[in-house]
Symmetry: C2
Subunit: 181 residues, 2 copies
Amino acid sequence: MSLSEKNFAFVMHCGEMGSRWGFNRTIGQMCGLLIITKNPMTANEIADALSISRGNVSMGIKELQSWQLIKVQHIPGDRKEYYAPAGEIWDMANRVFEERKKREIEPTLTLLRDNLLDEASNDDELYAQKQMGEIHNLLETVTKWSSELQRLTPEQLNKLMKLGSGIGKVIDLKDKIFKKE
Amino acid sequence: MSLSEKNFAFVMHCGEMGSRWGFNRTIGQMCGLLIITKNPMTANEIADALSISRGNVSMGIKELQSWQLIKVQHIPGDRKEYYAPAGEIWDMANRVFEERKKREIEPTLTLLRDNLLDEASNDDELYAQKQMGEIHNLLETVTKWSSELQRLTPEQLNKLMKLGSGIGKVIDLKDKIFKKE
DNA sequence: ATTTACTTTCTGAAATTATTGAAAGTTAAT
DNA sequence: ATTAACTTTCAATAATTTCAGAAAGTAAAT
């Protein structure tokens, strides 16, 4: 079974974008392919569909598993491994987001915290520390905020999203009601 | 004037991270360097501080300008160009975010919209379209939501951030008050 | 118009990253 | 124990990206 033109275009597009999301072209293609394919696929089917080597598929699978984006399935009486997306689109996006946070924000936070422990010994250092402090705060806010969002129930989240620009009003509303502090 | 050990470590770290944010190592380093350096720097100073070629700096400047992350300044009676960050940390993060959205979300949205116009002609295509539809919705939500956030005043934004997990309660509260619909 | 002080562009070399395909590994069936 | 049907690993190669340094460009000062 081969891909329709449109579906193929989508898979290739995932390849181009893939590199921006932290994996390489092939892995992006694999991910896109598995997402739009109804039935789980074998490694060989993937290799054929994308015209890449079997070995390359094996690497890609390992990588996609490390991102927890795909899962393995077995069909009784069949020794092959079948691969499928590990969850709904929303879950997958969340995983990518989480993984990226871990890879790019956390190391920076660690380094910044370490740097900020030192006393600045002159004006230049003081300025550098001020700037690093700002980055640190920004990253902490982003981290905290994103984990808060993930704590919401899907229902709350949905409401929040629908709220859209109304969010501003709700904040003001909350202020009026609890204006004591 | 050369960098302290800690500051140098920060700049190098920006190099490593840089590639994840869409530019390359050198450009990440340049960006970090300009952020923690109090005074605007000339291209030659940058080249010296990072031990890279003058030509490479020139490329990097062009790229950073295309991201609107740095600005050029002139000192009267001096022909050199001096480079400095284009704004506060928060602004720069916003620019990077915006630019990434433009580069990776918008093209995908375009492709998906195009693909979703077609009628599915069989079961496989129908499934593929369903999945693409989900991705499309997710990306639209993210896009919409992020531009809502940018529309908030810094003050509102600050309150929202401080709210943290309390956001859930506020949503529920709002629901109770306007429970008519 | 020339020189001088700069910036930009471009080419090929170097470094990095991705990919193949063959060999090795694994495991179920016989 | 051997074979058959798979998967994984890895060394060699291919493709891509980054970079230095030279050459070309620009424009202020003389």
